[in-house]
Symmetry: C2
Subunit: 383 residues, 2 copies
Amino acid sequence: MTHPDFQPCTHNLTPPATRIINLPGDYGQTDFVMRLGGRLAQVQVGYETWGTLSRNQDNAILIFTGLSPTAHAASNEEDDTAGWWEYMVGPGKAIDTDRFFVVCVNSLGSCFGSTGPSSHDPATGKPYGGNFPELSIEDIAKAGHHAMRELGVDHVHTVIGPSMGGMSALAYALQYPDELDYLLVISAACRALPFTIAVRSLQREIIRCDPGWQGGNYELDAEPLCGMRLARKLGLMSYRAAQEWRQRFNRARVPAHRASDEMFGVEFEVESYLEYNAKKFVGTFDANSYLYLSRAMDLFDVAEHGGTVNAGLARVHVRRTLVIGVESDILFPLEQQEEIVTGLNKAGREAELVVLPSIQGHDSFLVDAERFSPVVQEFFAQI
Amino acid sequence: MTHPDFQPCTHNLTPPATRIINLPGDYGQTDFVMRLGGRLAQVQVGYETWGTLSRNQDNAILIFTGLSPTAHAASNEEDDTAGWWEYMVGPGKAIDTDRFFVVCVNSLGSCFGSTGPSSHDPATGKPYGGNFPELSIEDIAKAGHHAMRELGVDHVHTVIGPSMGGMSALAYALQYPDELDYLLVISAACRALPFTIAVRSLQREIIRCDPGWQGGNYELDAEPLCGMRLARKLGLMSYRAAQEWRQRFNRARVPAHRASDEMFGVEFEVESYLEYNAKKFVGTFDANSYLYLSRAMDLFDVAEHGGTVNAGLARVHVRRTLVIGVESDILFPLEQQEEIVTGLNKAGREAELVVLPSIQGHDSFLVDAERFSPVVQEFFAQI
C-alpha cells in the first residue's frame, strides 16, 4: 500500500514497518477539509497493523498516539524492534493481537508517514513548513477514521488513545458516534487547563525563538535543534513527576568524568538525565510538527461539540468507556479524567474511571506495565 | 554611606532609597573569600532600613530577599513607592517598624546595589560578567552579616527570609549561630529537590542558549533579552499554582484586538498573562545575576554543615524558629518546610510549622497578605 510518490518526513525516520495510505479526500470532496478552515489536497496516513481482521470485521482496534510517537506501537513481522507500547500490544498481551486486528496510526501533522508540515505541498513542491494549515485534534481523528475506511473497516470495536491520543479518541467518538463500540482514554482530557496550555505555549515559544526556526521555513537539514532540545526538557519535566525524580536522583552529582566544562553546565544527575533524553529526541521529530500538534492540543475542547463539556460528552454513545488516570500526572491531572467519566455518566453512558498510583506522572502509561496491563486486560476480558 | 566609586548595576535600577555599604573584607583578610574558592577584592551591599535601632541594639531584624527583589521591601522616608513586601513591613504592620529596626539587604550576586556579575571588577575596570566567582547562599548570608556589623549591629533579633531568602536566613543561622535570637523561614528549604533543580537548570540553559548571552560577557546594553523573557515565563509557571490559573483564566481567549499576529502567538489569556509579566521583568534584572543566584540555590545544602540535614539543623540554636509553608507550592513543596521543623525539633529546638492554604503557590508570601500577616504578627507578639 506504500504510495510511490510518498515524500519521507524530515528525518526519514519513519519506521520500516509503517505503511502509507493515500486518503481520497473527504467524501464528496477532492480535498481533506480541516476543521479550522484549511485544506489539504493530498493526505497520507502512516499506520502499522497487528493481528488479522475478522471476516465480519468486528475485531478492529484503532490506537491514536501521544504527541511524538510513531505508528510503531509494538514489534511486528516487518519490524522486530520494540515499539513505544511494546508491553501492551501483542499476542496474549492486554491489547491481544491474537483476538484483535490492531491498527496504530501516525497522527496527521506528525512526521512519521502521515502528512504534516515537513511533507511536500503538491502546489509548490516544497515542504509546507509554516504554511501548513492550522491543525485540530478533530482533523487527526478524521484522518484516522478515513484511514480505517480505506483499510476496509467501517466500524471499529475499540478506539484507544493515551495523552494526545486520548483527545483524538474522544474526537473520534464525537465525530463518528455510530462507528465504534468501546472507548479507552488514558491520561487525557476533554480540554487543556491553563497550566498545561502555559507549559506547551512556552515550549512552542522556545522553539520559535531559536533563530534556526526561521518562521517555520527552516531547511529540513538545518532545524532549530537548540530550541527543540530545550522544549523537550520542559516536556520531560511536565511528563514525569517530582516524586519519581526524588527517588531516582535526589541530589546526586554527576561524577567528574561526566561533568560539563561549560559555565553552569551539567552538575546534578537530574540535569544529566534531561540532557541525555532531550538529545535523544532532537533530530528525530520535526519542529513544525511539534508546534502544530502542541497547539492542536491547546485548542481541543469537547465543549465545542455541544456548547458545554457535558453536552459534548452526551454525544458519545459507545457501549462502554474506560478512562485511566494517574495520581502523579501534573499535565493532565486526575480531575480531568474524572470530568470525562462524570460527564458520560450524567448522560447515562456506562463509563468507569480507574485511578493508578503510578509515580511516573503523565508518562506512566509508557512505563508502568505492571499497573496498566491488568487494567486494560480486564477491560477487554469483560467485553 | 553611599560610596563615591559605586558602580551602578546593569540597568541602574537600584531603588533610590537603597544605600551602599563597603565591606572591609573578611575579618583578618583584605578580600571577601567565597565559600567555593573565589575572592572578591571589593564588596558592596545595597540595603534599606526602616525604624530605629534601640540603644542596646536588641531590636534589629534582617530580611533576605528571594532571587529577584531589591532591598526596597517597603516604602520609607526616602522612597514612598510600594516595596515588594509592602503589606508586611511598616509601622504597626506584622514586621512592625515602630518596634523594630528593619534592614533589608540586596543579595550578593544581585544587581541592585550589591556586588554582582554586572559590577566592575577592580582588577580590570570592566564588569565581571562570566568571570564572577562561583556564588553560594552562604556568601549571600555572609555579606548580609558583614553589612549588619558595618551598620553597628553585632546581634540580630530575628533573621527573616522568604524563598531564596529563607535559604540565606538558614545559612546565616548556620554560620553565625550565636548572633541571632529568632528565625523566620518562609516557603524555603534545606536543599533543593531534583524537580526544582530541573526547573532552574532549564531556565539557566534557556538564557545561555540565547546567542546574546555571549558566554556571560554580553555588553550591558545588549543583554540576552529573549532568553530572559522565556526563563521568566518558566519561573512564573513554577512560582504560581495550576489551581489559581484555573480560577483566574481557565480557557479564556484574548479578545481579537489583543491577539497576536504571529504564528502560534498569544491566543489564551494565560499566555497573555505570562507575556505581560515576563516583559515587565526583562530589562530590570541582570542575566548573569540570575544565573549565579539560581545556581547558588541549587547548590545550597544544609547537610554540608554537619554531614546530614538534621546534623546541620542541630547547629541552629536560635530561641525559636517559625517556618511557613504553602500547600500549593510546587517549587518548595510543603515536605521541605516540614523537614526544617522536624530536624530542629529532633535537635531539641523550639520550631513551629504553619501551613497556609493559599492558592498562589510559591509566590503566596508576596500576595496573600490576609493569610501571611496574622501569622507573622502572632510570631512577634509572642516574643
